[in-house]
């Protein structure tokens, strides 16, 4: 196995195109255990972490650009990002230990395509876009379109995610992410729920995104929950409707981490709680009308 550390996207594209068994090497927190457990070894590991664009976290006029390999530890330490996307940053901070946090990234978390990954529901709820580079140049797609099933993505051979783009949230908007794990840390989500809420000046929900993780092959947007919130105060019956809709939208499996019944029930609970948290944050004075 060869190890390469290109410093530009173009070099990385070329390396990945040079051999059929080249692999993207970023945090490698899943890749190395997979190889150790007997999966075929790639012939070349292309380390993307020496490419500035892939590690940068940049605040732009329109919002943020976050490198696909930027360590989640850096994401969590970025106060400006956390102020605008508290839920997405919380989700980022839940991936593994401090040790893992120095390696894990949004790009890896999304491209690994585990149904239980923590950041994809929040990326989806925030309508993040993924900039993808490959032999045919760069293209930009919604983060929601990257994972297509467990371990499967829409990335074609030689492609990799360069960075994510996030639009600055409108006024009175905030997100939240909650997940259920048996332990407090070092666990994989049994259920994850990401919510983004925009309130109108009267405190009613103007816009809502509810996305669930670990309850289907890919992230599930819960349209019924979103519809139940629009135009209503995020409380009481509206929350009950969110809970019911999320439980109904969950289409989980029984596995070593949870049962179908449990995941359905808890998907509803977490979605409801995440809506309440996101709405509370959206109502905070600092998220009021922008000048």
């Amino acid at each position: 196995m060869r190890y390469e550390s290109p410093t530009t996207v173009a070099e990385a594209v070329e390396l990945l195109g040079s051999e059929p068994h080249a692999r993207v090497y970023a945090g490698a927190t899943d890749l190395i255990p997979q190889i150790r457990s007997g999966r075929p070894e790639p012939t070349v590991m292309v380390d993307l972490k020496h490419i500035d664009r892939l590690c940068a976290i940049t605040s732009t006029a329109a919002g943020f650009t976050v490198g696909a390999a930027a360590p989640t530890a850096d994401i969590c330490a970025d106060g400006a990002l956390a102020a605008e996307f508290p839920g997405l940053v919380e989700a980022s901070g839940l991936i593994g230990s401090d040790q893992i946090q120095n390696r894990s990234s949004w790009g890896g978390n999304l491209a690994n395509a585990s149904p239980a990954a923590d950041t994809p529901p929040s990326l989806v709820a925030n309508c993040a876009r993924a900039v993808i580079a490959g032999p045919d140049g760069e293209r930009t797609v919604l983060a929601a379109e990257v994972a297509t099933g467990p371990g499967r993505t829409s990335l074609t051979p030689g492609e990799f995610i360069v960075e994510f783009e996030l639009d600055r949230p409108p006024a009175r908007t905030a997100d939240a992410y909650l997940r259920l794990t048996p332990r407090t840390e070092m666990d994989i989500a049994v259920v994850g729920a990401a919510v983004r809420i925009s309130l109108d000046a009267q405190g009613r929900v103007a816009d809502a995104a509810v996305a669930l993780g670990a309850v289907a092959p890919t992230v599930v947007r819960v349209a019924d929950a979103e519809a139940a919130l629009i135009g209503r105060e995020p409380a009481g019956d509206a929350l009950a409707a969110v809970e019911a809709a999320a439980a109904a939208a969950a289409d989980p499996i029984d596995d070593k981490r949870g049962t179908v019944a449990y995941r359905r029930q808890v998907a509803g609970v977490l979605a409801r709680r995440a809506v309440a948290t996101a709405a509370e944050r959206a109502a905070e004075p600092q998220r009021g009308d922008r000048p």
Partner: protein
Amino acid sequence: MTITEANPGYKGYKYVGTRLIRPDGLEKVTGKARFAADLNLAGQLHGAVVRSPHAHARIVSIDTSRAEAMPGVKSVITGDDFPSVDPGHRQYDMCVNIIARDKVFYEGHAVAAVAASTLEQARAAAAAVEVEYEALQAVLTIDEAMADDAPVLHSHMLTRGAEPPAEAPSNVASVTRFSGGDLEAGFAEADFVVEREFSTKPVHQGYIEPHACVADTGQDGHTTIWCSSQGHFNVRSSTATLLGWENTRIKVVPAEIGGGFGGKTTIYLEPLAAALSSQAGRPVKMVMTRSEVFRATGPAPCAKIRVKFGARSDGAIVAADAHLIYSNGAYQGAGGMLGAMTVFESYKIPNFAVEALDVVVNTARSAAYRAPAAPLTAFATETVLDEIAEELGIDAMDLRLKNAVKEGDPSTMGFPLARVGFAECLEAIRSHPHFSAPLGPNQGRGLAAGYWFNIGESSSAIVNLNEDGTATVVTGSPDIGGSRASMALMAAEELGIDPHDIRPVVGDTEAVGFTDITEGSRATFATGRAVVEACRNMVIELRGRAATMMEAEVGDIDWVDGHAVYTGDGDSEGKEPLSLAVIAGKAKRTGGPLTATGSLEAHGAGPSFTVHLCDVEVDPETGVVSIVRYTAAQDAGTAIHPSYVEGQIQGGVAQGVGWALNEEYIYDSDGVMENPGFLDYRVPVASDLPMIDAVIVEVPNPAHPYGVRGVGEAGIVPPIPAVANAIHSATGCRIRDLPMSPVRVLEAITAAGARANGG
């Protein structure tokens, strides 16, 4: 470099009871300590094991030719390379577990092993060993094992203890029965009778250090093995048995051991490494992966338990009946028998009966795990006692105090108890601020007691005085939790010298007398006694040397605080006290080197009782249980080193909490473990636990010179029922199946809600 040590001695002891910096500590905080996997020898090969993918299969053939031809491969072995072993042999199970012969009995069962120049080459060659299996139906659960038409794992297995004697083989290895009084009359006397069933899953000891060893066999056939084990003399004899060698061909050097908890009381790799090394003529290192540790080394047995208790309205337990079935994995084990010895041991019950079955299934052979079997029987007994207390309107603490065993009460097996500290532990918890602290919303509090009998066994020690008055204490007990510090403290107390002037050493199998495995919480008790005996023999010698130096009768010399003191009636001129250092310095002129030994079969280990109090908070919508406060009182007899007594208690609690809440082996329908890693086998992490308040109760054990009772195991016994009782207190739900995971807790809460709503 100054290291401060807290706490002066107490109870009149100068050193016993102080918090000595452990002698092996510096090496462990600087990364210098050598664990087995840290050793590398010149010319060393690396071994890898070929493991069965089937839970139950007949081995049709093994073809090693392709593996042997691969680059770097120096030796390949299979079961055929070991002497055949008769099923009647005392260690038959161990022998065929280490390397399968005609059948494999669980997924991960070793069938062959390879040594090659590099680990990668060894693994590649192991993958190239071609094994043809004839798959057999796997028996994975107790119910499957005991079904009428169940495939029988071992055709030689006739149930031991069966009445009438078993004629046909079955998966029931043994039956154990104890009884006392008149059960029927006892239940007739009861005002309240309750019968409950419990079930549990296998759990792993979870030591962080995977099994590892290096074996080096010379061309003369002599082998040295460096390994991580709880008992290197056992490694020697077991390896010799498997290979058909004499003990003298093998020297076992104990490396530092990275946790055992019972799981390293048996062996897996050492005979394979020795055989590979013998064939290759080179040292062979073998280290398990974490996955191998989970799949192929000792989980603790799981069990199905049914208990029935009868109580009078005043709270007196008058009758109890227990039916225990323990699954010990692929070979016979003692889970059920140990369960029978612990299920009713904490309470004085005039009429009782216990029947315990040990069964075999197609999962990894179980091994000991800290107070083996007792956490599960405590789960049953201590949660049912809580129910009785609730039903009778008696405080759970009062109910236990009323029925607690005390000195002179007969055990389940009929022997009278020596002095024990159960009531003292109950009182320690009752008077602790935790007992009356307020609880928050969704919080509950659980009380539970635990018992472990502890064992003695054989130990040896040598004390050598150096010419400058320092001492070396050699024992044969691997130090798995700070025992070297305890040995130094006891030796210091006996000899009257500073413990920093004593170097405690764990000797290899050729450096010290036979010593049994560090198990049954016996090291500080039994090996401690051997050290004390060696020191007392040394003091006799020192008094004799002093008598020579003073020209006095030895009977007129006492040993006081590290000095030989003349106490005779004669002229004391020229008979000033002589320090140990002075006597040691003159040893050449008074009879030569000063060395003394102690060796014994220790009896009177003295049971350890413990009482735990646990507060939980339960999320009623998700079933997630958080441990918010935990207090554990345990009778240590006398705490030689309080920090490490507390550490044993706290460690036991953490393991017990893990067992209670989230740890379990998960198998697929073919018997393949689905969670052989620390990601999905969920041992508690630091953020899962609060501080664990360890209260040391000291009711000295009359059978130890300082009153020691073993403390290593009892701490794991009460956490499961303490957590279960706390969950009940918080939610009203009684959970009787382990683990009490969020899924299971939420199911219970949801079902209770449905019942309350008239469902």
